[in-house]
């Protein structure tokens, strides 16, 4: 999983010990794969007023590369949307089915199944000029000091990445493995959940769950990780 020679960027995978790397690499030991399997079943399950399954409109092959180029601009709106948001939107708008709650097992499993189709591909944000202001917004958030601890993301993840914080190596924070199985959560979770953990960690008030700020931040982080290998479902401590 190492990046090419002069590229100093490291995935969180490289900051883990050998035992956890092995857990991620083995599809029959990686707990995230349980959710990929569930996602595969949900993909084929008809739902809603149209009684259509995801697989009735999309071929699995269509999904290759999708997670590696998300977030994207929402088709109807003027806002960018992350992968979980896109799945939830499809569920109500196209399947005409009951909405799936954010961070629910169903949404995460579908996202895991879709994201797994991009595993091994380079992260490739789309060249959509409409994303530019959101990427700038994301970068501004990344560099801004926040919370009672008055820390910015950049202070830990740019300036101090590689050093130890409470016995753990500070990662560079590239979203290479999402949705991922975080051992701390004991379940699969989204990047948004991880970002909220960070905000709480620096004693800031987490933004409202549907805030565009999270998507903007993800757009910036994915751009910063451009070209790195997509690993979903990752395993992280």
């Amino acid at each position: 999983m190492a990046q090419a020679g002069a590229d100093k960027r490291r995935s969180g995978y490289q900051d883990m010990g050998a035992a956890l790397q092995k857990m991620q690499d083995d599809d029959t030991a990686n707990p995230g794969m349980l959710f990929v399997q569930l996602g595969q079943q949900l993909w084929a399950k008809p739902a809603g007023g149209n009684n259509k399954a995801c697989g009735d409109c999309h071929s699995i092959g269509d999904m290759k590369g999708v997670a590696a180029r998300y977030p994207a601009m929402s088709k109807d709106g003027d806002k960018p949307i992350d992968l979980e948001g896109r799945i939830r939107l499809c569920r109500t708008a196209n399947q005409q089915a009951e909405p799936l709650a954010p961070e629910s097992r169903e949404v995460l499993s579908l996202a895991a199944f879709v994201a797994n189709q991009s595993r091994g591909l380079p992260i490739a944000p789309p060249a959509d000029p409409r994303l530019a202001p959101f990427r700038e917004q994301g970068e501004a958030i990344y560099r801004r000091r926040q919370g009672q601890l008055n820390l910015s993301c950049a202070i830990c993840h740019d300036d101090n990445a590689g050093k130890k914080l409470a016995g753990v190596t500070i990662p560079q924070a590239h979203p290479t493995g999402y949705p991922l199985y975080r051992l701390e959560w004991q379940v699969l979770g989204s990047l948004k959940r991880r970002l909220r953990n960070c905000l709480i960690g620096i004693r800031a008030e987490a933004y409202p769950y549907d805030a565009v700020a999270y998507v903007a931040l993800e757009i910036y982080l994915m751009d910063r990780a451009r070209g790195m290998v997509f690993e979903s479902p990752g395993v992280r401590p």
């Binding site: 883990m16 010990g17 050998a18 035992a19 956890l20 092995k22 857990m23 707990p31 914080l165 409470a166 016995g167 753990v168 051992l183 701390e184 959560w185 004991q186 959940r193 909220r196 953990n197 960070c198 709480i200 960690g201 620096i202 401590p237």
Partner: protein, 155 residues
């Protein structure tokens, strides 16, 4: 599980008590080296415990105590006459001292078991192998468990 019924009654009584006290992150009572020694004695009785034959694999530094990869392997011909019939693993600082008990036979070919365990603190882990001849062998490991720097709010 040796002593399971007794343990559960005790735990229920204890849990009722904890609810009345201000909240601690872990139930503190059972976690002691003495509890581990008692649990080991329940399995081994008065028999001698010998060193050797058992290898306990744990990462030396554990990034998160919720899922620690652990493997126990025991040297044995695994024949009808001489095989490992059980592997017992214990801990000394979790709320209760057992980790797992595995039953094996010559049908396994190799006495190797791997799983993932929860460790609430840096502590000693002990693995005890029981042979078909009634002998006990053990190995132990001291591990360091680091806690996550940015914890999630449960609310």
């Amino acid at each position: 599980m040796p002593g399971t019924t007794k343990e559960r009654t005790t735990r229920r009584t204890f849990i009722a008590g904890v609810a009345l006290v201000s909240v601690l992150p872990f139930a503190p009572a059972r976690a002691t080296p003495e509890a581990m020694a008692a649990a080991i004695k329940e399995v081994v009785g008065d028999n001698a415990i010998r060193e050797g034959r058992v290898t306990l694999d744990l990462p030396p530094l554990i990034e998160n105590g919720n899922a620690v990869p652990l493997a126990v392997s025991v040297e044995s011909p695994m024949t009808e006459a001489d095989h490992i019939k059980a592997i017992h693993v214990f801990n000394e600082k979790n709320p209760q001292p057992h980790v797992f008990d595995a039953r094996l036979s010559p049908r396994n070919g190799k006495a190797v078991v791997a799983t993932r365990i929860k460790l609430g603190d840096s502590q000693k882990i002990v693995a005890i192998a029981e042979t078909s001849k009634g002998e006990f062998f053990s190995a132990s490991a001291d591990v360091i468990v680091t806690l996550a720097a940015c914890l999630e709010d449960l609310t």
